[in-house]
Amino acid sequence: MRVTLHVWRQPGPGLAGVFVRYDVTDVSPDMSFLEMLDVLNQQLLARKDDPIAFDHDCREGICGACGMVINGRPHGPRRATTTCQLHMRSFPDGAELWIEPWRARAFPVIKDLVVDRGAFDRIVQAGGFITARTGSAPEANSVLVPKRDADRAMDAAACIGCGACVAACPNASAMLFVAAKVSHLGLLPQGQPERDTRVVGMVAQMDAEGFGACSNHGECMAACPKEISIDFIAQLNRDYWKAVARPKPQVARANGGDA
């Protein structure tokens, strides 16, 4: 099969970009989308042209590195599929495809289809964890977790941090990403002590990074390759309002004395 591509080419951060047209022939329906771009890049290199830069690594849908908007849809047309797991059999012969990077103020373009998603890391650093110093953990079976809660936590924890939710959202909101982490940890007994500080910290960082607000479009869930449910956003909102409404805990007295 053959496809016509219009690929966003941008030489560097803050520089102007433009769509460049490429006709790719000899495409096999069994190729992954990234393999099709590999083939194109090999052809570009053979002509001593600059290959298209795009992020990718595991190519099995779990590392979250890859991601591009294909004909207006993050990760392309297939439900629950990352770009690397999208195969050319999902497109008709002769398809015309417009390929763009994630577009969001908080994800500046570095080059071509590569964006900087460091904002996600900073959100996690602001509270997306359970404080469990190495060595101080209790015996694992000493805390029981109902299967229902563990399964639900796993549903949220499946997030791969690719950023498709942000790219899909008309407001470029990161609510689904934040909700997934807040819910994953908040559903487990181990996550309770820091539940309030976590949600407040992460939401504050999300706002500081310049992500938009959630207006319940639901596009994020439709684009999510791991099908994270927007029910978790409702959970995030509940947790957030509870946390800010709760009276601040008394600061423990510093002079606890030596034992």
Binding site: D38, D50, D57, E60, G118, A132, G135, P138, A157, L188
Partner: protein, 639 residues
């Protein structure tokens, strides 16, 4: 050079405990003065960086990915072993130790493996406390599953995404330290060389993959947690970025490289479909719990699987290994798959292909579709997405693929390489898996090294060596930085006709054919000749393109392939010298009448550690004899 393994004295069960109580400690107030450089942010790197920072050290952590969370540990599917004996099926620390030593075909160091089994239980505690959503039973207790090569159920899992969940646990612990300012994280940064001053590792040279800037970083110790080198085969289950560069550069600076020919070919991967294939995808070994592996009895049988009657199917693993059946260890399962395909009984388009069936028909009939979906749902979906076939209706087609490398930098009991102050942890070292790794043991080893071993042993070195402060302006740094810059310029200056990818593919083909699932002396010699020629050709005829001061993925790949082209020769050299078959290293000349690996403990009961003596010169072999006190060496039998 002398290999000193520093294995503590005393009985096996007491070694680690005694060692921990005897090693020197760094005064808490002094820890902040020590700066530790951790390269890699997978299970080993992230857990080490987080744990070291919790102890009070100053830590810098580097990864080539855009975020620490994307390291390739994330792709591990099946699970993590631990000797918890939650199933009451007779598991114990000794049994996990014994299974691992035996699974590795008696080519691993006893003391290290025992320690690994010992700390395994604490890893599960640690990860559970971090919020890793392990699978649970209805009563709320942790669930287990079985894995290949063992007869107890000791594998903990989080659906088919155990590696992801464990890595996110370590990443979150690391993120907490980054947020607190105790770890400086440098993503999109690739280590390109090691700086050694007065025999001690004192820093690294790093290229910023966005700006292309090459910079020097000084520290008191360097920890390499940079994973394995399966991508020497081009097609493997590893992520595209996985490479040998960090450990190869360290090797060239004086770290010996142990057992490079021990590479694991995983039996259950999705077969290749075409010449454009960029990687191979693993289907978790856990599928072998419920899937049955078979091929038609007839050669070149082109009938669809559902039209091949029961009596015309050969469930070859069940036939050859009645007690382990489909759960035979990986090396055996892979080799047998190759064998039936070489006989012309492989399956795939047109028949006689490179594939065997992994069939869930019986399990679905026995347990129901719901149970199978619950256990393997995401794996089935992944398979369907890649192949366009639904495993609920048609058996999966699988074939072996390079997956993990047991070889790596030689380390002593403290995980220190032959360069003082240089540590290697996780897949980057050679220490625990011998000649074959058991399923669900890589995650265990990475986290054992990072959470529970390195944080202790590194303190012992820092307390005793008391490394003086060193400035990245030191002439040694300037020197190595200059060399790295020069190499980048040379790569960019080569104005040939072939792309980096073309060279990598060709190297991969040579390695897969001659140094893959089975090897022989003639083939290995041919491979070494071809690799040498390919390397010369590479520097003459490669075209990289683009600029150095820019994000340039072709340039990144070029540096990695240049190192693979040097490393591959050492791998063949090691495979040629080891005139025995053991675990994954199958030399056709050395096999039992039943076609099993025939070890030669007398001549090869040692770790082969290779010293680099200069470009184009023969590497020098150092042997670390393997002394077994607690186990009796037997021929592995899974019959």
């Amino acid at each position: 050079m002398e290999l000193r393994s520093h294995i503590p004295g005393g009985p096996l069960e007491a070694k680690w405990d005694r060692h921990r109580s005897a090693i020197k400690l760094v005064n808490p107030a002094n820890k902040l003065r020590h700066h530790i450089l951790v390269v890699g942010s997978g299970l080993a790197g992230a857990s080490a960086a987080a744990s070291l920072a919790e102890l009070g050290y100053r830590v810098s952590c580097f990864c080539f990915q855009d975020s620490a969370r994307r390291a390739h540990s994330i792709a591990a599917q099946g699970g993590i072993n631990a000797a918890k004996n939650y199933q009451n099926d007779g598991d114990s620390v000794f049994r996990l130790f014994y299974d691992t030593i035996k699974g590795g075909d008696f080519r691993a160091r006893e003391a290290n493996v025992y320690r690994l089994a010992e700390v395994s239980a604490r890893i599960i505690d640690q990860c559970t406390a971090q919020g890793v959503p392990f699978a649970r039973e209805y009563g709320g207790l942790l669930a287990n599953r079985s894995f290949g090569g063992v007869q107890v159920s000791r594998t903990f899992y989080a659906r088919g995404q155990t590696g992801q969940q464990l890595l996110l646990g370590a990443y979150q612990a690391l993120s907490r330290q980054i947020g607190a300012g105790s770890v400086r994280m440098e993503p999109r940064a690739e280590m390109l060389d090691l700086v050694v001053i007065d025999g001690r590792a004192r820093g690294i040279i790093v290229r910023d993959l966005v700006t292309g800037a090459v910079s020097a970083h000084a520290g008191d110790a360097v920890v390499l947690a940079t994973g394995g080198y399966s991508n020497v085969y081009y097609l493997s289950t590893n992520a595209k970025g996985c490479n040998v560069t960090a450990i190869w550069r360290a090797h060239k600076r004086g770290a010996t490289f142990a057992n490079p020919c021990f590479t694991q070919i995983h039996p259950t991967c999705i077969p290749q479909t075409g010449p454009y294939q960029s990687k191979l995808t693993l289907m978790s070994e856990s599928l072998r719990n419920d899937g049955r592996i078979w091929v038609p009895q007839k050669k070149g049988d082109t009938r669809p699987p559902d039209q091949i009657p029961e009596e015309e199917r050969d469930y070859y693993l069940e036939r050859l290994y009645p007690s382990y059946g489909n759960l035979a260890p990986r090396d055996i399962a892979s080799r047998r798959a190759k064998e039936v395909c070489d006989e012309g009984r492989g399956v795939g388009p047109g028949g006689g292909g490179h594939g065997v069936y992994l069939d869930f028909r019986d399990a679905i009939a026995r347990l129901g579709r719901g149970v199978i979906a619950e256990r393997y749902g995401n794996l089935f979906e992944m398979y369907e997405r890649i192949t366009g076939e639904d495993p609920f209706r048609v058996p999966m087609r699988i074939y072996p693929a390079p997956h993990y490398t047991m070889g790596g930098l030689w380390v002593d009991y403290n995980l220190m390489t032959t360069i003082d102050g240089l540590y290697a942890i996780g897949e980057a070292n050679f220490s625990d898996h011998g000649a074959n790794r058991l399923g669900a043991s890589a995650l265990m080893q990475g986290l054992a090294d990072g959470y529970f071993i390195l944080p202790y042993t590194i303190g012992d070195y820092l307390a005793q060596a008391k490394p003086a402060k060193v400035d990245p302006e030191h002439p040694a740094f300037r020197q190595v930085q200059g060399e790295v810059g020069e190499r980048v310029r040379r790569l960019l200056a080569a104005s040939g006709r072939k792309t980096v990818d073309a060279f990598h593919r060709e190297l991969g083909r040579v390695m897969w054919d001659k140094c893959g699932m089975s090897r022989n002396a003639a083939g290995l010699k041919q491979a070494m000749e071809r690799i040498g020629a390919l390397r010369d050709e590479f520097w003459k005829d490669v075209y990289v393109g683009g600029r150095g001061e820019d994000l340039n993925q072709s340039l990144e790949h070029a540096g990695r392939v240049a190192d693979f082209l040097e490393f591959a020769e050492l791998m063949c050299h090691d495979a040629l010298h080891r005139e025995e078959s053991c675990g994954c290293h199958f030399r056709e000349e050395y096999q039992t009448p039943e076609g099993e690996a025939k070890r030669d403990d007398e001549r090869f009961g040692y770790v082969a550690a290779w010293e680099f003596t200069g470009a184009g010169k023969e590497p020098v072999l150092h042997k670390e004899p393997l002394a077994f006190e607690a186990v009796h060496l037997v021929q592995r039998s899974y019959k």
